[in-house]
Amino acid sequence: MSAKTLGPVRRKFAPWDDPSSKPLIEIRQVTKNFGSFTAVDDVSLNIYEREFFALLGPSGCGKTTLMRMLAGFEEPSAGQIIIGGQDMAGIPPHKRPVNMMFQSYALFPHMNVEKNIAFGLEMDKLPKGEIAARVQEMLKLVKLEQFAHRKPHQLSGGQRQRVALARAIAKRPKVLLLDEPLGALDKKLREETQFELLDLQMQLGMTFVIVTHDQDEAMTMADRIAVMDKGQFVQISPPAELYEHPQTKYVADFIGDINLLEGRVTKNERGRITLDSDVTGGVIDVHADSSAGAGDKAWFALRPEKAAISLLPPNDPQTNCAHGTVWDIGYVGDISVYHVRLDQGGSMRASIANTSRVVERPITWEDKVYLTWTPDSGVVLTK
């Protein structure tokens, strides 16, 4: 794969599926306690070279603590961290082959942009000429050439973010850790920067580990995402898999919007599962893999955009269909979300793309509607 010729297009990059590839970072059964509080609870994870890996979770889930253990600011209470084949136990931050971009950027306020970027190189005692060349290269990379002599407080938020990035990659670390790198930017700038970061990572061929609480950010940039909750990994998957095949209700709910319909499994044969649901008052027929056996309680998870809404009944209103009343319509611009109160008492959401420029919609408040979906549009979850 050549990033230069292909541009930021990712082709089949999945070393985690290849048993022969060697991980760059190995996290082995790491636990971190602060007093009686367990911030990270017995987690294991491999991260591969050139991977863009995201740790995603709500605040307090342990993602930042895990990253700080990679950087060396915290020592694991138990377990092992191996980077590039070397055990990191007892190795202080200044001797680790990783660099970090801090959430607050942590720019040195008394040094100008150039000095900030050169700092790490000076610590490595590189020759002066090489430092100067490398700083110029970095300034060009982040497009800050004309700001080289400004102090951090003379820069805008976006510029500071780029200085922090340049400073962290100047030493060409094996791994770059990014702690909420875009958290302080406004929405528009954040979206632009996401793609810049992606480009940069491909260009440099570096491994990026990013901590974020923003699912869009993680979905846009990462090769794989680890969803964390209460100090543990809930699921580690590529973004599309995370969205289309969540393994738990927590992940399904955390990533995007979802309808969870409770039911009882009546049949599970070679990827064809049938549920009886009190919520829809009928049968749900699903083409999906699940460990659920006949008689188990399970949830059918359906994304709102995969449900169709109609005033007319389908051919078979007993299968993959729910009937109810439009309660509320959320107009978001590109889509409209219909909140439907089902006859059986539950509720569901369906979102419809607004493809034509019509203000009056055919379906409106208080309408009786049918929600339908195909057998391969959702998954069955047991926990």
Binding site: G72, H94, F102, Q154
Partner: protein, 272 residues
Amino acid sequence: MKRLSAFNVVSLTLGFSFLYLPIVLLILYSFNAGRSVAVWGGWSTKWYGSVFENDQLLDAAWVTLQVGVLSASVATVLGTLAALALARYGRFRGRTLFSAMVYAPLVMPEVITGLSLLLLFVAVNLDRGFWTIVLSHITFTMCFVAVVVQSRLASFDRSVEEAAMDLGCTPFVTFFRITLPIILPAVISGWMLAFTLSLDDLVIASFTTGPGATTLPMKIYSDVRLGVKPEINAVCSLMVGVVTIAVVIASIMTKRQEVERERAERAALAGR
């Protein structure tokens, strides 16, 4: 922007007149040709002349200055170390006692501090004089330095230090290249505070001094006890003048820095 109400204007005017009138009168009467403190006898600068002929006063001023510079410098080093220990090292054994010892002198009556230090010097048979005053001043002013520096350390982003270490800096080098430059303004104002407190101190110096070491406040105090003299007005006016000029220059400098900083920040935001 809101205008001040009449009530606020009146209270500010009265308040500041109360604060400044006595000092203004003191300075005014230092130029009084007559000996009286109440009767104006015309303008004169003769009292300033006699200050500079008064060897005792000049000696005392010189001693005070030396004590001030020496003790403020040592106190700044010790106070900064204490602040680092308190702000950065979390819990360590004996921390409670340590922080109590650092904070207690701030509220301790000077008479007690003075007495206890004197008794220490007597107990270890140390000759009292210049050096015992210096030691005492270091002890009580380092606490003020520690408080000033600690509040600066508390308000600064720890991740800046972590970033330096992440980039390959040892903890020791991090202190000198990152932490110290950032907290330097607080360290300097700590020094100034320690210096002024030392210049000011009458009680502790009176307890801990010995023969031959008289500071300016001690000299002024003993003269005042004998009655008000225009010469003392002149000395006091000089001291007020020096301090005022120093403080005004310092604050104009910080103000200018702030203005420049704000302007740069605005420019940066506009040109993003």
